[in-house]
């Protein structure tokens, strides 16, 4: 399938820094948000007349408010360490997708209006006026950054392009030039509680259907409780877990873990979303509105703990910002991390023997693991440094017999973005998504050829949707991406289970019995 109207990058045997091709992606920009999506978030419906003045003022406000932003803008020495670190540059060859060049789109305007030299001798210091052309460039290229922060790992000053890209998007929203995909979704989540726009009756129907499926398959009544007051744990998970594949198999995995460990838990119809796209558009206010729904749900349901499902940027927001956005959470049980990741929960139960895993449930797969950017570089898990790398891998290895890592430069803190993060997971950016996935596809191809890897696991809803969409462009099958808790689901031994963990398992048992 996937008749591309563009050239899909060729996967080489090893990473090659491509030759620059000026303006190679100048044509790629997402749909601009219409008035209805803009005004819901408190932004002007369309580009305002005095956009230039307002944008410059907003820039000053942001550099004042976020010290980090002004440090990033002031401290770049153009050493070039970041240039070949961006997956979008590697996949598109467009020089403006080099992190330093992307930053400079913003920096040159900052210099012009907020530095002395830029005000007096702009040409000598690379300062430029904010013009309509510059604004268009911003819109194009700040929507070719997935805010994955890989470049910042290699920057000797730690300059974080993600933060600059968030600031640029916030300025564009403020003057009325927002992105349709993100802003439509944020508006939906603020009203309906989730990005999909899934109303409560549909959620109930979906969850009941899954309970039936699990019982049909295992003979065990595993519940997926919704709005249960007085439950111990509130699970906040991306709404894609209710809708898409392989996400939904991960949700089944969480439910089986909670069931087997006898944890009293619930989900919330009011806060039925872990994702928080407010971060992608750099809007503290919108991010806070979504975070406060989680707090409200926790209070209304009287839970003792909050656990997050498999969602990359949600975990960044939860781990790094939830307390300042919506805290204090002094009403929760302080014996548990606030919040906790589902991987931490499952990992703990594996360690202490509460749940038993039969690895042969995944014998039809040879696995590798894709570190999702926001988990890898913007958060942590467990109580040891690097826990965000070891805990998911430990869970996978406890659930299967065959596991191989991809090449070192492409995993852990050096992981490549899936190509669809940061609010870019939209069909109008499909060319960018396919090209940006190239470095990850190259690493995956290597382990499929050398180690016989058949499936890649991930703990991010965006990564999973992105890979299932773009895999066919690189001759992989869409179902080669799996949820980490899907593996747990296949392997977990449920008390009273009538069947084996999977169909393959059944066949083997039958053969042995015969």
């Amino acid at each position: 399938m996937a008749a591309a109207k563009f050239d899909v990058p060729e996967l080489k045997d090893y990473p090659i820094i491509p030759k620059l091709k000026k303006d190679a992606m100048a044509h790629s920009a997402p749909y601009v948000a219409k008035e209805e999506f803009q005004t819901k978030l408190g932004y002007p419906g369309e580009l305002i007349d005095n956009w230039k003045e307002v944008a410059i003022e907003k820039m000053g406000e942001l550099t004042d408010k976020y010290r980090s932003l002004s440090v990033y803008l002031d401290s770049c020495v153009k050493c070039g360490a970041c240039t070949d670190k961006c997956h979008y540059y590697l996949g598109t060859t467009d020089p403006k997708n080099m992190p330093v060049a992307r930053q400079d789109l913003f920096r040159k305007v900052y210099r012009r209006y907020y530095t002395l030299a830029g005000k007096i001798v702009p040409k000598l210091v690379g300062a430029e006026d904010l013009t309509e052309e510059v604004l268009d460039d911003w819109y194009t290229y700040f929507h070719q950054c997935s805010q994955c922060r890989r470049c910042s790992v290699y920057c000797p000053y730690g300059i974080d392009t993600a933060e600059i890209s968030m600031a640029a998007r916030e300025i564009m929203d403020t003057v009325g030039k927002g992105q349709k995909y993100c802003n439509e979704i944020i508006g939906k989540a603020q009203v309906l509680g989730n990005n999909l726009g899934l109303p409560e009756p549909a959620l109930i129907d979906t969850l009941e259907g899954l309970e039936e499926d699990i019982e049909d398959e295992t003979g065990v009544q595993v519940k997926l409780p919704l709005d249960v007051k007085g439950a111990d744990v509130l699970l906040i998970t991306p709404s894609a877990d209710f809708f898409a594949e392989p996400h939904i198999d991960g949700l089944i995995g969480y439910a089986k873990v909670f069931h087997e460990a006898d944890v009293s838990w619930t989900m919330s119809s009011y806060a039925s979303e872990a994702a928080n796209f407010g971060m992608f558009i750099g809007s503290y206010e919108n991010m806070q509105k979504l975070a406060l729904r989680i707090r409200q749900a926790a209070l209304d349901l009287g839970v003792k703990r909050i656990v997050f499902g498999e969602c990359g940027h949600a975990w960044r927001v939860a781990y790094s910002f939830l307390n300042t956005l919506a805290g204090p959470f002094d009403f929760l049980d302080s014996n548990y991390p606030v919040p906790q990741h589902i991987c931490e929960v499952t990992h703990g139960f594996i360690q202490d023997g509460t749940i038993k895993l039969d690895k042969s449930g995944n014998d039809h797969m040879t696995l590798t693991y894709h570190d999702s950017c926001n988990v890898a570089r913007a958060s942590r898990m467990g109580d040891t440094p690097g826990g965000q790398f070891t805990i998911p891998r430990d869970i996978i290895k406890a659930s299967c017999n065959d596991y191989y890592d991809m090449p070192e430069h492409s995993i852990k803190e050096g992981t490549y973005c899936c190509g669809g993060g940061g609010g870019l997971l939209t069909d109008d950016l499909i060319e960018l998504r396919v090209k940006g996935a190239m470095p990850r596809m190259q690493a995956l191809k290597q382990v499929t050829e050398q180690n016989g890897v058949t499936h890649m696991a991930a703990i991010c809803a965006i990564c999973k949707s992105q890979f299932s969409k773009i895999f066919p462009y690189y001759d992989f099958q869409m179902d080669q991406i799996v949820s980490v808790h899907q593996l747990v689901s296949n392997a977990i031994v449920l008390t009273g289970q009538t069947d084996g963990g999977s169909d393959e398992e059944d066949t083997k048992d039958a053969e042995q019995a015969a």
Partner: protein
């Protein structure tokens, strides 16, 4: 954007999804599929009709799993899987079939 059927114009969004759900007519689905170069068969219609029924009840398109289960019940177990649905709708059953059914595009991380 708009789509023309029998001399009448119907407003759509940038991606070709019908702006007003209530304006939907079967001829619109046929026209959209023809424009995509893959005319609708009876099998396609089973999916499109199920989506519309589900939407009427729940105001949202069904999860892929709900859809595969329903199609499996109607058309036989061998068709109750996402592979079959992707054969019918290569751009994704949720998105492409929703478009033909006149439903809004599912949004989010899907």
């Amino acid at each position: 954007m708009a789509i023309e059927v029998d001399g009448q114009s119907y407003e759509t969004d940038e991606e070709g999804y019908l702006a007003d759900l209530n304006q939907w007519r079967p001829e619109l689905a046929t026209a959209m599929a023809d424009a995509d170069g893959a005319p609708l068969t009876e099998d396609h219609w089973e999916v499109v009709n199920f989506l519309r029924e589900y939407y009427e009840e729940y105001q949202i398109a069904p999860a892929v799993r709900v859809l595969t289960k329903a199609i499996g019940k109607k058309l036989g177990k061998e068709k109750g899987n996402s592979k079959y649905l992707y054969e019918l709708f290569p751009y994704g059953p949720a998105k492409q079939a929703c478009k033909y059914a006149g439903l809004p595009k599912p949004t989010g991380c899907v």
